[in-house]
Symmetry: C2
Subunit: 327 residues, 2 copies
Amino acid sequence: MIIAVDAMGGDRAPGAVVEGALHAARDRAVEVILVGQSSAIAAELARHDSTASVRVIEAPDVIEMHEAPLAALRRKPRASVRVAAELVAAGEAGAFFSAGHSGATCLAAHGAFGLLPQVDRPALAVTVPTLTGVAVLLDAGANLDCRPAHLVQFAHMGAAYAPLAMSLAGRPRVGLLSIGEEAGKGNDLTREAHLLLRGAAIEYIGNIDARDMFTGRADVIVCDGFTGNVALKVGEGVVEAIEQMLREELDAALVSQIGALLSRRAFARFRQRVDYAEYGAAPLLGLRQLALVGHGRSSPRAVASGIAMAAQLAHAGVVPHLASALQ
Amino acid sequence: MIIAVDAMGGDRAPGAVVEGALHAARDRAVEVILVGQSSAIAAELARHDSTASVRVIEAPDVIEMHEAPLAALRRKPRASVRVAAELVAAGEAGAFFSAGHSGATCLAAHGAFGLLPQVDRPALAVTVPTLTGVAVLLDAGANLDCRPAHLVQFAHMGAAYAPLAMSLAGRPRVGLLSIGEEAGKGNDLTREAHLLLRGAAIEYIGNIDARDMFTGRADVIVCDGFTGNVALKVGEGVVEAIEQMLREELDAALVSQIGALLSRRAFARFRQRVDYAEYGAAPLLGLRQLALVGHGRSSPRAVASGIAMAAQLAHAGVVPHLASALQ
């Protein structure tokens, strides 16, 4: 399986991306094409004494995090993220991965691949940890303003994707993210979507209170991209704030060196369960080919996981699977 | 200061409410009027050997959590929350507090009090803990569908209210909750509100990334009520999930009895910092009189804090203060 990787995308690019790509190539048996400024990539490759071989394809332009994505893609036709998307469109790679500007990644993929039939908007499907396993949340930020019909499409895509993202006993339970479980609770968008979802041919379990996002009540959690992105970022922010507070409190309590060590080890394990950034990447569902978006702050380990996830989903045929499920 | 309390409001009403009201009356020197089914209230009062004296006013109807608030208020004209609001409107109490159906509380207060000039929608202002102190988030759920101009009004109300809710060195820094700090990041609502807020006579610091909700970057965080409620509930859900995971992990790590005890004590302290439910209550800003909404799961301690907060805000003259600030 060949995966194109946007070497210039992410807060720590190209360093963390190149290092992660080498890990993926060596440990996960993925063929990687690094796309970006070849001199910068070569400099990073030279820093690693790796036996893994990766190919490099030149793309001179870089889209920065602060840029407006549509204008930036117009202004920079040879941006790394677009060249990576075009490699997939041309059949030279099975998917591409970028930890760069997620808006630009979505637009580049959308432009290069086009939409599946029955889909009006692609959706970013993030796997989040729950108390009982994982859940898929979509849209996580590809569409910031949605209509009720879009949420119904997300629900269908999420239900089709879930069996590839987790082990399931039966049909995935699909919930609508809202501010209470009762049917009437929510804003205009969720209340209208709820009425449509009740008639959809999926296992729709109704509203999911935002408090239950991590309890495992639903396998698939549907929302507009603004709400989904806010929810994920608040979750991240709380984890970070708790880590910092707990460090302060544990110091203040004068816990012994050993006690602190134990707590830190326990804490590292639980953080791994909570930190969805470490899950690697989120696929963009609803397009005719496969693109994955990584967290901007991706570490080399997260990049390697993201590339491995891209290879695994391409191998599992997520796009043809979705296409047939949506018929 | 006299505070009317909806004795029937909350998951643990009337027991937790009556107990909390007795605490507030005894320890916080607040005169409390309990409003609700007087026989149920009397039975709860009889369980406590309290020297505190509280008055009771009969209200035979109760609005349940699952009811649609508008229809329920029409059907139950003598609901406890409405009778409590009417006591304030009649000048018999300085404010009212309810831990019941928050939608019904907002509607009852709105109907009984009316809006201040310059305000089109009241907003629920929740005080959330941050790494550096606290912040005020509004709207926390009174208005689930907002227009950009409403967010500007929330910003003005939040800026006027903040000095009463926290100690501030200068003018409160007002931020707009969004999915990134850049001006262009957000949905249609936040992008339009951002343009309006740049011209407002407040210390507007731009978008606040949802990840920074708890870092203390802003003193006032403005958003629509759906997003605000989702953000708060996700925050609560993460804290609960982390508590459970940490308990599991600490057991698994076979931490010694003493180590566990220390951790639990540290954890209880940090939870107190994180758990905004313990902050008691959130005032509904923008009305001609004062109402406070408590958390549905309020403990007696949270109810007592909420009643004390109502007395403190009424004493501080939050309504005339807002009215003059909004001119």
